[in-house]
């Protein structure tokens, strides 16, 4: 039986990285995610698995260290919180352009600017829609528990290497700071040099005689070449959208009303759904687990079944635009959110639901 440990989501990220054969972590302190690097430094994985851990001089530097490490075909990751992730967006764009795999964890806090250090989901647009300049997508996965934080590191690297694309684990201050029971699955060793050559033949590993040199770059300068590359990315994104959408549902089979919420909000929403069910209202919840690719199809189906949909988010309404797009006008779409680091309760959600749906 797997060992069960009480740990914070942030600690789960660190322990998972060590146990899942991650080669390197490069980061910079910022609340509420500093426990990731603190845990790694305390665990000293360089003495056990050989994993490299380094405190960089800035988030700009950490993401570019990731760029360097990923160029060598290594499993490398960083973590930060909203203001730090803003700084990393340059590097994320370069990595998308150079088709480099990596995992970036964003433990979101309130913004804009320095904002607050309390939980928020206000980086949805930045990470899901943008995350840097240029035509690209991050693969975005949203954990809702400490166990997810543990599991998503390995899943993130799987996706990152399958598609040679940055993966963002879009978390928040609740999931990062909360302690829960985490099952530690059997450990996976770091990849050997031979395994890296096989998994990442594109990597810079030193050019042996007889193979063309490997060059990691996002530069082309020639519009026609760049367009061919952009269209190659488009095909990759189409494949991701066809194959990797993931979501969970709670009581949607007979639902007359639907909530859509991701991450910590989905858990609070689940309690609201249960409360509504107790009062005889057939509510249900869809939690997108992947934010890119987004479960447009399933939400669209449910939009044809329910009387209304509400998007519940810790921001001013960012994901709701995707919910509206998915609903395609088949039913009204509403929004309820809290901002600035404040968190809604299930009761608040129920109240907002009754108001939106004109129910007593």
């Amino acid at each position: 039986m797997a060992e069960k440990i009480l740990m914070k989501g942030n600690e789960a990220i660190a322990i998972s990285a060590i146990r899942n054969g991650v080669d390197g972590y490069f980061g910079y302190p910022i609340t509420p995610q500093s426990e990731v690097m603190e845990t790694l430094m305390k665990e000293k994985p360089w003495e056990t698995t050989g994993m490299v851990v380094l405190q960089a001089e800035s988030e700009t530097s950490s993401i570019n260290m990731i760029y360097g490490g990923a160029s060598c075909g290594k499993k490398v990751m960083t973590s930060s919180s909203s203001p730090g992730v803003s700084l990393m967006c340059e590097g994320i764009s370069y990595m998308a352009g150079a088709e480099l795999p990596c995992v970036v964890v964003d433990v979101m806090r309130g913004g804009p600017g320095l904002g607050t250090i309390q939980p928020s989901q206000s980086d949805y647009d930045m990470i899901v829609k943008g995350g840097g300049h240029g035509d690209f997508h991050n693969i975005v996965i949203a954990p809702a528990s400490a166990q997810d934080m543990y599991d998503f590191v390995d899943w993130g690297f799987e996706l990152a290497f399958r598609y040679r694309n940055p993966v963002v684990i879009l978390s928040d201050g609740i999931i990062g700071q909360m302690m829960e029971k985490v099952e530690l699955h059997p450990a996976k060793p770091r990849r050997t040099a031979e395994e890296i050559l096989e998994a990442a033949p594109w990597a810079v590993t030193g050019k042996p005689a007889g193979r063309p040199r490997n060059i990691i770059t996002s530069l082309s300068l020639d519009s026609d070449i760049q367009e061919v590359f952009n269209q190659k990315l488009a095909r990759k994104y189409a494949e991701i959208e066809a194959r990797e959408v993931k979501y969970t549902e709670h009581l949607t089979d007979d639902a007359e009303y639907l909530f859509v919420a991701f991450g910590c909000s989905s858990r609070i929403c689940e309690a609201a759904v249960d409360e509504l069910r107790q009062s005889g209202i057939k509510a249900g919840l869809l939690r997108p687990v992947t934010l890119y690719p987004y479960p447009f199809g399933r939400i669209g189906e449910l939009a044809g079944q329910v009387k209304s949909i509400m998007s519940i988010e810790l921001n001013l309404g960012q994901m709701v635009t995707d919910v509206r797009l998915a609903a395609g006008g088949k039913c009204p779409v509403g929004f309820y959110g809290r901002q600035g680091g404040n968190i809604f309760t299930p009761e608040e959600i129920v109240e907002a639901f009754r108001k939106f749906n004109n129910l007593k």
Partner: protein
């Protein structure tokens, strides 16, 4: 069974670690748990609080505003959390430093003079374990056997000699709780 608990006091009273021992003990009993601290500037010398949820089944929202039990260790927390106890719930508090005692009649109220207990055990650092012992006397949500296992998980191996001291504080706290209001 589901028990939603808020533990609130000053930073330094061991509020967060008390919650951690309780949560770990529940894991040893194969329960689901969440441990959600307040964090940030308010931790620096000010009040600290942690909400702990223990449940036989999967826990949905880790955010609750009404508690089955409030464990209150200073006046600010009394002002903030007395009203959040569910009717029929429990308010356990340390009377030292409390200027306005709880007044509700619809909840159970109990006192633990944990400073005294800790002093009698001989180490002020086990203050929080005395409080935990008092709570477990009134609500034995986890068995003492599992509390011992939980403690062992929370205390680093190099301090394992402290386990017995903590256990003693839990036992003394267990025996020193004073019921103020029954319903």
């Amino acid at each position: 069974m589901k028990e939603e608990i808020i533990i609130a006091g000053f930073g330094g009273q061991g509020v967060l670690s008390m919650g951690k021992v309780l949560a770990y003990s529940a894991i040893m009993q194969d329960m689901e748990v969440t441990w959600m601290p307040s964090y940030g500037p308010e931790m620096r010398g000010g009040t600290a609080n942690v909400s702990v949820i223990l449940s036989d089944s999967k826990i949905g929202s880790p955010i609750v505003t009404r508690y089955d039990t409030a464990i209150i260790l200073n006046q600010q927390s009394m002002d903030k959390f007395e009203k959040t106890v569910k009717p029929g719930g429990l308010l356990l508090y340390d009377p030292s430093g409390i200027t306005r005692h709880p007044e509700r009649k619809d909840i159970r109220i109990a006192q633990i003079n944990a400073i005294e207990v800790a002093a009698s055990v001989g180490n002020s650092k086990v203050y929080n374990m005395a409080v935990l012992g008092a709570f477990l006397k009134i609500k034995p949500v986890v068995s003492m056997d599992n509390v011992r296992k939980g403690l062992a998980k929370c205390i680093p191996a190099r301090y394992s000699d402290l386990i017995s001291l903590n256990e003693k504080a839990i036992n003394e706290g267990h025996d020193s709780v004073l019921i103020i209001n029954e319903i």
